[in-house]
Amino acid sequence: MKKSPSLLQIQRAVAGAVMQPLTRNSGMKSRDEVGHSMRKLAGEIMKPNDRLTSFERLEIYNRQYWFRVLDSLYEDFPGLRSVVGESRYQRLARAYLEKYPSRSFTLRNLGSRMGKFLKEEPRWAGSRQEVALDMVSLEWAAIEVFDSMFFPPLTPGEIQLLAKKKTRMALQPCVKLIELNYPLDEYLIACKEGKALRLVASNAVRGDKKRKAVVIIPRLTKKKIFLVVHQFENSVYYKRLSPEQFAILKGIEKGFPLGKACLQAVPKAKKSPEAWAEDIQQWFGLWAQLGWFCKRGTT
């Protein structure tokens, strides 16, 4: 008598089938990637009923898997969709999810390896790989900032005191610094207008929804920008920085004491130390108002 498969064996076989890429018509493939018959596999694991074969019953889950994960990723990367174009995005998203299926209990993290994927496999972004990589950095930073912790911020007085004591402070976890080769901040804001936030629903099956058309942007002119993506009053904002401002904040992020963070960031030839000091004081006043700093160790 044939021994029954274990729970783990059944789950491995079903998960493999469910996560297998769909055909062009959103059906289950007849063979898996190494050529095994999916009808045979389905027949061995699943019972048919009076209306559906084993294959068709398994196919329901195969379809639902792809509709669910593609839907989730679609919501996360409106900018990337626009940059590479809708049809290329569809192929890219499938390839990404084939290579990097979810390793997290939450769909929030589904796109966490998109940047890595585009670096490894530039062909999926076509001629727009560089812009696509920038856009993914920006979109992923926004996702991370959206639900990151906001610790009690340091006041300007506390910052001054830390500076005198040469003690380090930290950037809030909901403050991310990114360097882009293209000015994509305003473009992404436009992309996101009217976009609903993604939430997981309970136990509900996803349909193969029609996608909204996205507008492909005209050629972007390459121009380096320094950006902070930050949370303020529970919303995500983008703010452009000068190279010096960016370098100071990077220094703080690296754990430099305030004085060192400032000294390594400002080119002495450009302005007098007094002029820099005045600027820096003004910048920190604004950044403190925005609540970007917290005590080191709280993060």
């Binding site: 783990l8 059944i10 998960a15 694991i45 979810s102 939450t106 769909l107 609903a196």
Partner: protein, 279 residues
């Protein structure tokens, strides 16, 4: 007073799911709602708007947590990071009980994000009950497991779905979140009598009920949560309530979500079947 430890919250009447399109209405109009069910995973984050919204809701409403990714039935061990985040949320919401599904969805650390049906085997009973116990002991609150809707059955199954559910909840000594819509959907997809299901589960363990709408296709029914509750499901609900008594009930409406008033009105239809509170 409640007659058993699994249904200790009979003062929780009819709730609805907390869904994003309704936030503005809830904050502006402050409607009277018995309780909100939240999807735990949407709030298992470190900060930002999700927790801000949750805290505002908690100021005025009772909240019960419902999860979609614990995967009690997955053969792999529990995810400790998940559990720790969940416990933080439990402390924040003070949920009186916590529910998740009697299903699996991950294997070898890869997640399908689906609620996949269990093979109804004795091995699965043992492993699933053990994991439910572990979760309950870690979170230190009552657990209720929800029967899922399904579209397939396994050759390996050694019992019916309701026998499996019974074995698991007895083995884990936990409650049941009885989803009557899921029973209806599965009964049509697998050809069993849904009343056999209701009549053969340990009714004293039913801690909460779910009602929802579904969609009919030519050869099967899908659990889509995008419609009002259909008559056969209300009939099942009425039958179940007669058996289990007053039980916290929740309407699920997760797709093509109409106005708050429409969802709430649909949920409150459950009051026609609920005996009055005995608290």
């Amino acid at each position: 007073m409640p007659g058993n430890p699994f249904n200790a919250f009979t003062d929780y009447g009819v709730g609805i799911g907390l869904r994003l399109p309704h936030y503005r209405h809830i904050f502006e109009k402050k409607p009277v709602v018995d309780w909100f069910e939240i999807i735990s995973e949407n709030f298992m984050v470190d900060g930002g708007r999700p927790l801000y919204v949750l805290d505002k809701i908690l100021e005025q409403y009772r909240v019960v947590q419902h999860g979609v990714s614990m995967y009690f039935g997955s053969a792999e061990p529990l995810n400790r990071t998940h559990l720790k985040k969940l416990k933080n949320l439990v402390k924040r919401t003070k949920t009186p009980w916590l529910s998740d599904h009697l299903c699996w969805g991950s294997v070898d650390g890869t997640y399908t994000h689906d609620l996949l049906p269990m093979p109804y085997t004795f091995e699965a009973v043992r492993k699933t009950a053990q994991k439910i116990r572990e979760v309950r002991d870690f979170l230190e609150i009552p657990i209720a497991v929800e029967n899922v809707s399904s579209y397939t059955e396994y050759h390996a199954s050694e019992m019916t779905e309701w026998e499996f559910l019974t074995e698991v909840v007895e083995g884990a000594d936990c409650g049941i979140l009885l989803d009557v819509n899921n029973i209806y959907v599965s009964s049509k997809n697998h050809g069993f009598n849904p009343y056999d299901y209701l009549d053969n589960i340990p009714r004293h363990r039913v801690a909460q009920m779910h009602i929802a709408g579904h969609s009919k296709f030519e050869k099967y029914i899908l659990d889509t949560h995008d419609h009002p509750v259909l008559d056969p499901v209300w009939k099942l609900y009425a039958h179940a309530i007669k058996q289990v008594g007053r039980t916290a009930t929740l309407l699920e409406w997760d797709d093509r979500i109409p106005t708050f008033e429409e969802v709430h009105r649909e949920a409150l239809k459950a009051n026609r079947f609920l005996p009055s509170s005995n608290i």
